[in-house]
């Protein structure tokens, strides 16, 4: 190289040098080309790697998104289940309340059935009165009361049974006067809305007075003067029992009276026939 710069080069030397330079330049060009190729290859490799690198990120994102979707769905399901649970709880509570109501109804029906069954289980007058007494004591919870009937001949109201009071102390009643007289005249029961635990016994003013009647024919009255101390209030079944007693007790009393009368007449006639035959 120093020779060329010096300018002292011969023609052959010059050619040799030029060829050498050309060879070097060719090599350099080839080397540069290789470098460029290598560069291109590396660039491609980088972009491939970058693409590979970005792919899992995208996959991760979709996975997270899917999880988020699932979470949202689960939240919705949870909410739905919770509201369903509340609905079922509400239904349960309603069923429980209904069950209690049905139990009470069942109890009432049992009371009414037993009372009705017992009232019509005999045609003996005294037994009928005894059964009414039992119903009033055991099923209604009355401590002091009287059952009074209108004498069909004299039309005087007279107690035929009493508990907790003296039977003979039952007051003389005029139709239409006082609580008992009004009940007998109108045929409508006298039942208060609430019980007064402090109330004193007044035989002319019963706490409850129920007419004993068949259709419009009133022929007696049930007067209650005091309830047992545990009986704090009148409930639905008590009112039902009063209604039942008003009709069924009256029918039972009426039937037993008729039966007793006809039986007595039959016995008299039979005695007479036997007497005549002998």
């Amino acid at each position: 190289m120093g020779d060329i710069q010096g300018g002292g080069v011969s023609g052959d030397g010059y050619i040799e040098r030029r060829e050498e330079i050309m060879a070097v330049m060719k090599k350099t060009a080839s080397f540069t080309e290789e470098l460029l190729q290598e560069n291109e290859r590396l660039r491609q490799r980088v972009s491939t790697l970058e693409a590979q690198k970005s792919m899992p990120v995208a996959a991760d994102n979709s996975f997270v998104q899917e999880l988020m979707e699932r979470l949202k769905q689960t939240e919705n399901d949870k909410q739905e289940l919770f509201s369903r649970f509340q609905e079922v709880s509400e239904e349960n509570r309603n069923f429980a309340e209904r069950y209690v109501e049905i139990e009470a109804e069942n109890n009432n029906l049992a009371n009414l059935y037993v009372a009705s069954y017992q009232l019509h289980s005999t045609l003996d007058f005294d037994e009928v009165i005894q059964i009414i007494t039992e119903i009033v004591i055991n099923l209604i919870g009355a401590e002091a009361f009287a059952i009074a009937l209108i004498d069909p001949k004299t039309e005087v109201v007279k107690a035929v049974s009493a508990e907790g009071i003296r039977q003979e102390e039952f007051p003389t009643v005029k139709l239409g006067e006082g609580v008992i007289g009004k009940v007998l005249a109108d045929g409508e029961p006298f039942i208060p809305d609430a019980l007064d635990p402090e109330a004193k016994i007044d035989l002319t003013k019963p706490i409850v007075a129920v007419p004993l009647k068949i259709k419009d024919l009133v022929f007696g009255v049930l007067c209650i003067y005091r309830f047992f101390e545990q009986k704090k209030e009148l409930v639905d079944v008590d009112r039902e029992l009063f209604t039942l007693l008003a009709g069924h007790a009256a029918t039972a009393i009426f039937s037993s009276r008729l039966y007793t009368d006809s039986n007595r007449k039959l016995q008299t006639i039979q005695g007479l026939i036997q007497l005549m035959a002998s």
Binding site: E134, N138, G141, Q230
Partner: protein
């Protein structure tokens, strides 16, 4: 199905029927009835009784006497006894429980109350 026998001692047929009506709703229980204390003792000796329900005011032998006699018998020391009565004062209740009754129900009765007491004393679900 019936595993237990209940003896109902009550002089009033109305009340007896009502109590039996309630008890027959408990599948595991069959009912034996007696009219008074003496009849109750007789039925107690004739049947294997698992629970006794008795009134207090009865002719011939009242319920308190019955409870007292039953408790004196070693065979019936653990027999559950329920008193069903019109006597609602705390003293009456105390007296009955002191004699050995396990529960005290006042009339007028509510069937669910009787059923619940019987189930509880017989340890039924």
């Amino acid at each position: 199905m019936a595993k237990f026998t209940a003896l109902v001692v009550e002089d009033s047929p109305t009340m007896r029927q009502l109590i039996c009506f309630a008890l027959r709703r408990v599948r595991e229980v069959t009912v034996v009835e007696a009219n008074d204390g003496v009849d109750g003792l007789k039925k107690l000796s004739q049947h294997h009784v698992d629970i006794l329900l008795t009134d207090i005011n009865m002719p011939i032998m009242d319920g308190l006497k019955l409870v007292s006699m039953v408790r004196k018998d070693a065979n019936y020391k653990e027999l559950p006894i329920i008193i069903i009565t019109t006597e609602g004062s705390p003293e009456d209740r105390q007296r009955a429980l002191a004699l050995g009754a396990n529960a005290y129900i006042t009339k007028p009765i509510q069937a669910p109350q009787v059923i619940s007491q019987v189930k509880s004393l017989l340890k039924l679900p």
